[in-house]
């Protein structure tokens, strides 16, 4: 099944059709997708900037991670669920331009990077989190996260301009 066939099947499903045709639910889902960025994207950027050494330098990394994590993850749950719902309501036009596939690829990359950070640095963060100079790998993970999530948001905003389905 090709990507556009899959999107057509999603669109034709009861969920996709009712969402696309709903007067209030669709705008609300789109609104939540956008505004939940304040939690998901905004707080991950803050965490990345801490790893890079731009903000909150006097606060140990593990404290920033630990105190922001529930809000950040909650935000990502909201952003992802509403994003999946929007994909159901989008139809095959979504993949006519490569913007959306590129966005998905970057989300995958950002996810891998987060996983790598957790495995490599997550357990030992209490030991290095308060150091004046953070491990180079942690800093690189911060940069990769910052760049990839920023591109995800930018590409997302470009979808209505460059994909023909909208």
């Amino acid at each position: 099944m090709s990507a556009s066939e899959l999107l057509q099947t999603m669109y034709d499903s009861p969920l996709g059709t009712s969402l696309a045709e709903s007067l209030y639910v669709y705008p609300l889902v789109e609104g939540i997708h956008l505004l939940s960025l304040a939690f998901s994207f905004g707080l991950i950027v803050l965490t990345d900037l801490r790893l890079i050494g731009v903000v909150f330098r006097q606060v140990p990394v593990h404290i920033v991670l630990q105190q922001l994590r529930p809000w950040l993850l909650g935000g990502f749950v909201a952003t992802f669920i509403t994003g999946i719902l929007l994909t159901f309501a989008a139809g095959p036009g979504l993949v006519e331009a490569p913007i959306f596939p590129a966005k998905l690829l970057l989300i995958f990359l950002a996810g891998l990077n987060a996983l790598w950070f957790e495995v490599k640095f997550g357990c030992s963060v209490i030991r290095w989190g308060g150091a004046a100079v953070l491990p180079a790998g942690a800093k690189i993970a911060g940069w990769i996260s910052l760049v990839s999530w920023s591109l995800v948001v930018i590409l997302g905003r470009l979808i209505p301009y460059l994909d023909s389905g909208f």
């Binding site: 705008p27 789109e30 609104g31 956008l34 505004l35 960025l37 606060v59 905003r157």
Partner: protein, 159 residues
Amino acid sequence: MNSQELFQTIQNSDIAVALGQAHVFFGILAQLFHISGLVLLLTSILLVNLRLLGVGLTHFSAPQLAKYTKPFVFTGLGFLIISGIFMLAPSAALYEPNPAFWLKLKLLAVALVIQFTLYRAVTATETPNRFVAIVTAIISLLLWFSVGLAGRAIGFVAA
């Protein structure tokens, strides 16, 4: 002059016409500045308000966070207002009859008033009354997120 005439005058102004004729690239750029401004503003306000509720980045006090995020709030507001005018001016007369647009402006006005009165006063106090802090946080969060939702609604209400 009523508001429809005013908005028509804005749309017919040289600057608005020039903005309208600009390449679509600038339109996209304005959208990207609008979304960056939104994240800068909302995430900053979110951090401070979570702290007023007693959660989030509790390593700091609310006044510390408010002071720390102040430049981000103003940068965000600057991005939002300038890019917003850029998007509005070339088709101002189309926005004027849109109820979501006016709702957004009214909510924005109230949010700004609260921001520079109640919110400023509460976040300047090292140990504010717990009840006042919670009420302020809820009002501030509801207002700013409503401004965003009303903004999203503009495109769906448009005739």
